[in-house]
């Protein structure tokens, strides 16, 4: 850790007094502070570890498992006990459940990540334009936000997916992205309204910087903090939405692997294979918990004023 001497403001002005006092409290940069605060948030730090494990597993196991996630075999849950190769056994058509689960996790994380990226991009763009241009444009965009917010979101997602083609990953990402950007847009707009009056933006204006340059170079970075927080928390929502879609039969359909359609499938084996509904369910909960805690940690680290007691 960098240790720097902090000069008390009074020291320089003290008549006749030299700089004889050194306070050894370390001075840290903004990002060092953010990192320290984040790591101080024990739950968030643990959640990062959990998320890294989940991401790693979702990349690693589908690679070493090859096509095991959809390849059928003559092994069945009932008479082939769990083994090192199949720690969760085989399903009714002989597919290795563990590999299928890892593939499903991969799909979920990709859908969650990309959807949140789209949400952030659309939200930032709309919010930035509304907040920077203001006036009639702002008014119109905010009414659009009101309209989208008034619609039942999950139902809208179902409509998009059902009408544009069930079972398509891109459609699912598109549907989640297109319905979820409103919160980000409002956050960015609010930050822009605040930053528009900030001194450094006024200074850039006085120096003759163009509107576009001011917005992109000076204001968007300043407005990103709440978007980053919303995006991290949004991963959980996106993953659950995808699972729900697939569970209801609108999302990914077998043979594609999804946590949602694995649950639908497991539902048919309620009596003989009760564990089958726990595998995808607990995986889903782990993803959601990890994303929410990381989101909480990021929020507390970026803006300690918003700290929520935990």
């Amino acid at each position: 850790m960098r240790i720097a001497a902090k000069l008390p403001t009074g020291a320089l002005e003290a008549p006749g007094g030299g700089i004889d006092e050194v306070d050894l409290t370390p001075v840290r940069t903004y990002w060092q502070l953010v990192r320290t605060r984040f790591l101080h948030h024990r739950l968030a730090a643990t959640a990062v570890v959990l998320m890294v494990v989940l991401v790693f597993a979702s990349i690693f196991f589908p690679i070493i498992g090859g096509d095991a996630w959809y390849r059928t075999s003559l092994k069945f849950g009932e008479h082939d006990p769990v083994s090192l190769i199949a720690p969760m056994g085989y399903d009714n058509i002989g597919i290795n459940i563990f590999y299928r689960l890892m593939k499903a996790l991969q799909t979920s994380l990709i859908i969650g990540g990309v959807a949140v990226l789209i949400i952030s991009i659309i939200g930032t763009a709309v919010g930035a334009v509304a907040g920077y241009v203001g006036g009639a444009v702002d008014n119109f965009l905010m009414r659009v936000v009101d309209v989208v917010l008034s619609l039942p979101t999950f139902f809208l997602v179902i409509m998009f997916v059902a009408f544009l083609g069930s079972g398509n990953v891109f459609v699912i990402i598109f549907a989640i992205g297109l319905t979820g950007w409103t919160t980000a847009a409002r956050l960015v707009r609010a930050e822009f309204l605040r930053l528009r009056e900030a001194e450094f933006v006024q200074a850039a204006k006085a120096l003759g910087a163009s509107d576009r340059r001011i917005a992109i170079r000076h204001m968007i970075p300043g407005a990103m903090a709440p978007v980053v927080v919303a995006a991290t928390l949004g991963i959980a929502d996106a993953v659950v939405t995808e699972a729900a879609l697939s569970f209801l039969g609108f999302g990914l359909l077998p043979p594609e692997a999804s946590l949602g359609n694995m649950l639908t499938h497991a539902q048919d084996y309620f009596y003989r294979q009760p564990l089958w509904i726990y595998y995808p369910g607990i995986t889903l909960i782990l993803v959601v918990i990890a994303a929410s805690f990381i989101g909480d940690g990021v929020r507390d680290a970026l803006d300690p004023r918003q700290r929520v007691e935990n």
Binding site: R143, V144, D146, V147, V148, L149, S150, L151, P152, F154, F155, L156, I158, M159, F160, A162, F163, L164, G165, A236, V240, A243, A244, F247, L248, G249, F250, L263, A266, Q267, F270, Y271, P274, I277, Y278, P280, G281, L284, I285, V288, I289, S292, V308, E309, N310
Partner: protein
Amino acid sequence: MATYILRRVIQAIPIVVGISVLTFLIVYLTPGSPVDRFRSPRVSAEAIAALIRSYGLDQPLPIQFFKWFTKFWSFPWDPNAWGFSFVDGKPVRDTIIARIPATLELTGMALLLTVVLAIPIGVLQAVKQYSWWDKIITILETIGYAMPTFWLGLILKQLFSIQFNMFPLFGMHTIGKTDLPDLLWHLALPVATLTVVSTAGWSRYMRASMLEVLRADFIRTAKSKGLGARQVIFKHALRNALIPIVTLLGLTIPTLLSGAAITEAVFSWPGLGGLGVDAVRDRDYPVVLATVMIGGVFVIIGNLLADIAYGYVDPRIKY
């Protein structure tokens, strides 16, 4: 107050038009058509064309929209105003009205239980912050909040219907029975599913709200007056901590009708949510449109009610 409500209603008009246009566009501009499912070698092209005509799908889109929009909003008392289902040909309005009681029984009961459980839990947690009780409940809340409703529904079904055979697997009534105990028996698991998830969220919110209020300067004032812990907590703190809960209630009102689609699907509950999902699946456009419209209008009503209630609970807000 009356002028305030009037102003809000007028402000809501463009939003209602907006959600109408947007939903209509999504429904009618996406690829595919409701007659697709009738297409087969055994159905003649003429029959399909007749079907398209009878649905009104042959007319230009703006005309279709205009006809639907004016009819939908001008004559809600007319049973035919919301059109007829493409699937069973019945008036959409009647179908929807018939589904409302089942949904309200489910969501209303869950909301009631949530409020009754979550507020005391959150208050107790805040008052006993740092205690074991607070820590354990916080962990349970985190898990409950992270649990997708459909998964929780499945787990409850497996545990209480299959393992212990205490509650029915699905449906609203045992065939041939319509009495209250039977209904409650069928309600237990779906209501529990919704209640667990929303109680987890609400009590977290209540706890945070209460903690914030307990740190306020006026709480210190109340204590310095010599008030007992009970008066400080239940009179001075709770009254303030409940103010943000009113917003939550306003946001929840629309989900009374539309929010339980997934739970309804898991338990085959014959409510509005399930109707909407089925209608999307069947491309039953009039039913889809009506369902979304009702959802949207309830969001607007919920927000309005929340704002009005705010004026009553928070003296700082005047209309």
